[in-house]
């Protein structure tokens, strides 16, 4: 099954990625840097902690992982053959 979104034309997301990005509540200090660099809007801040709202529009760029000074974000690959894909990259 694939999904598309109007605001990001030309890209398809194949379902079944699994939770390939995780936030460790204990390490997160709520700085919101992950939210600032996520063009897919995957993050929200709840009770001064970053939380993944949804990975459905994630382009697997890992910007959130790079900017997290506290090392609270764990980034790995989605399952093979899932996640975003495009003919126009």
């Amino acid at each position: 099954m694939t999904r598309t979104f109007e605001e990001f034309p030309g890209v398809e997301w194949v379902e079944g990625t699994g939770d390939f990005i995780k936030v460790d509540d204990k390490k997160c200090d709520g700085c919101a840097c992950c939210m600032k660099v996520c063009l897919a809007g995957c993050y929200e801040i709840e009770k001064k902690k970053a939380r993944i709202k949804s990975l459905e529009k994630c382009m697997e760029c890992a910007a959130c992982w790079y900017v997290c000074e506290k090392g609270a974000i764990d980034f790995s690959w989605p399952k093979g053959g899932t996640g975003y894909r495009s003919d126009w990259g």
Partner: protein, 452 residues
């Protein structure tokens, strides 16, 4: 007993080049690729510079890969209040000679992977390498997302920027955000005759002072670019993940700057907008400045049983924001070393150090990863000297780029090296340019395995 002599992780631009050479040498070679089709997860506004084709693997120079447009000219437009007040198009070549070739990643990477498979390499798509098999500190294979263990004598990590296998192996660390650029790009359909008449065989850069708010947010590091393809154009802009110690609100700023560009800059509004239709919006992060930061540059690109190439090794051309030629060069060297190591029966780091040493000796790789021109633009913009800004752009995307201290040195060294190997290489270069140009005019390239 190993399942393979060599496992290559990633069928992007570098992986298939390494796999093809290993397979041709008779090594049992496997490529694992996490996408369903090679290249469909590679996001890039891409004009591959000429030096990759001239000094890279012969099969690319002698082949017919799918290119979107030969780029013969760079047009630099200086913008103030949305108007173009100065244009520098001093960097140009007459066709069929080209400064680079625009390409979509999916067909190009598929073409490369097809060549590796043709040479005898196995290719497993929809397979993510998520962990390593380690024994006594040495890499002995990979574990896939399905839990399968695949053993090899040497692992070539061509998994791109974000993959963390080299971190798991204890060889490298995560890139620092100062080394990284987040870039956003748009793909617009445009009739070929319109691309031909508006741009011809050129790509365009738009430069402005920070208050113009069209290029890089906060005015640092980058400009707004438009790459031109066969029947489409590919504008984009990028920005450091960290500027002056802070993480800018890029999720808001990148779309805002694009909106400013398209609503204010007359060149876009009058000449381009009426002729285009938005087709795709994408973004990605790449380690453009890894070669400029000492801690990042010092990280090894090999370990026991493992060689790291391309973006995974931080080998981006820091001034151009491009990693393809360096991925090809490093893949070629990695394959040579892997072949020698397998034949010698020694894949320890004591043997594999020669990979890093050959990468460092390569006339292009080290030079081009340490090119400060784009990084230093921030100081020029801070000084607000228009004259200095124009002069720096001329040295970056104008004829001044060929100065000896910029690309003149690696270019002349590489030409000399190529001539020593083959005195007739010039004729082959001319033949390549002619063939690539004719292929583009006729829209005829090698058939891809994904085509019916």
């Amino acid at each position: 007993m190993e399942d393979y002599d060599v496992i290559v992780v990633g069928a992007g631009f570098g992986g298939p080049v390494a796999a093809k050479k290993c397979a041709e040498a008779g090594l049992r070679t496997l490529i694992v690729e996490r996408a369903q089709v090679p290249g469909e997860k590679v996001v890039s506004g891409l004009v591959i510079p000429f030096y990759g084709f001239l000094f890279g693997p012969d099969f690319i120079m002698n082949g017919n890969p799918p290119v979107e447009r030969p780029i013969c000219k760079v047009v630099n437009r200086f913008v103030r209040n949305g108007k173009i007040y100065h244009t520098n198009s001093s960097l140009r070549l007459p066709s069929p000679f080209a400064l680079g070739y625009a390409a979509y990643c999916k067909p190009f990477c598929t073409w490369l992977a097809d060549r590796a498979v043709e040479a005898g390499s196995e290719l497993r798509t929809s397979t993510a390498a998520i962990d390593l098999i380690m024994e006594k500190g040495a890499v002995k294979g990979i574990i896939t997302d399905r839990g399968e263990e695949l053993r090899c004598k040497i692992l070539i990590d061509a998994g791109g920027t974000q993959n963390n296998l080299s971190i798991k192996a204890g060889i490298r660390k995560k890139y620092v955000p100062e080394a990284m650029e987040l870039y956003m790009l748009w793909d617009f359909q445009m009739a070929k005759e319109d691309v031909d008449s508006v741009f011809d065989l050129s790509m365009e850069f738009f430069h402005g002072m920070p208050e113009e708010r069209i290029g890089a947010p906060l005015g640092y590091g980058s400009t707004f670019y438009i790459f031109t393809y066969r029947e489409s154009i590919h504008p984009g802009l990028g920005q450091f993940l960290v500027t002056e110690g802070k993480v800018p609100d890029l999720a808001r700023l990148l779309p805002e700057y694009f909106e400013n560009f398209t609503s204010k800059v007359e060149r876009w509004k009058n000449d381009i907008a009426p002729k285009v239709k938005l087709r795709a919006v994408m973004w990605d992060v790449c380690p453009i400045y890894a070669g400029l930061l000492p801690d990042m540059r010092k990280m090894p690109i090999y370990g026991d049983g493992m060689l790291i190439i391309g973006d995974a090794a931080g080998l981006e051309a820091s001034a151009f924001g491009d990693g393809v030629p360096n991925a090809w060069f490093s893949a070629d060297i990695a394959a040579d070393v892997a072949i020698e190591a397998v034949r010698a029966g020694d894949t320890s780091r004591n043997f594999l150090w020669r990979y890093e040493s050959r990468v460092k000796e390569h006339p292009y790789i080290t030079y081009i990863t340490a090119d400060r021109r784009r990084w230093d633009l921030r100081n020029v913009l801070a000084s607000r000297s228009e004259r200095e800004f124009r002069s720096r752009i001329n040295d970056h995307w104008g004829i001044g780029a060929f100065r000896y201290r910029y690309v003149g040195k690696p270019l002349s060294c590489s030409i000399a090296q190529s001539l020593r190997k083959d005195p007739l290489v010039m004729a082959r270069w001319v033949e390549m340019y002619r063939r690539y140009y004719c292929n583009w005019v006729e829209n005829k390239f090698d058939k891809l395995s994904t085509e019916n």
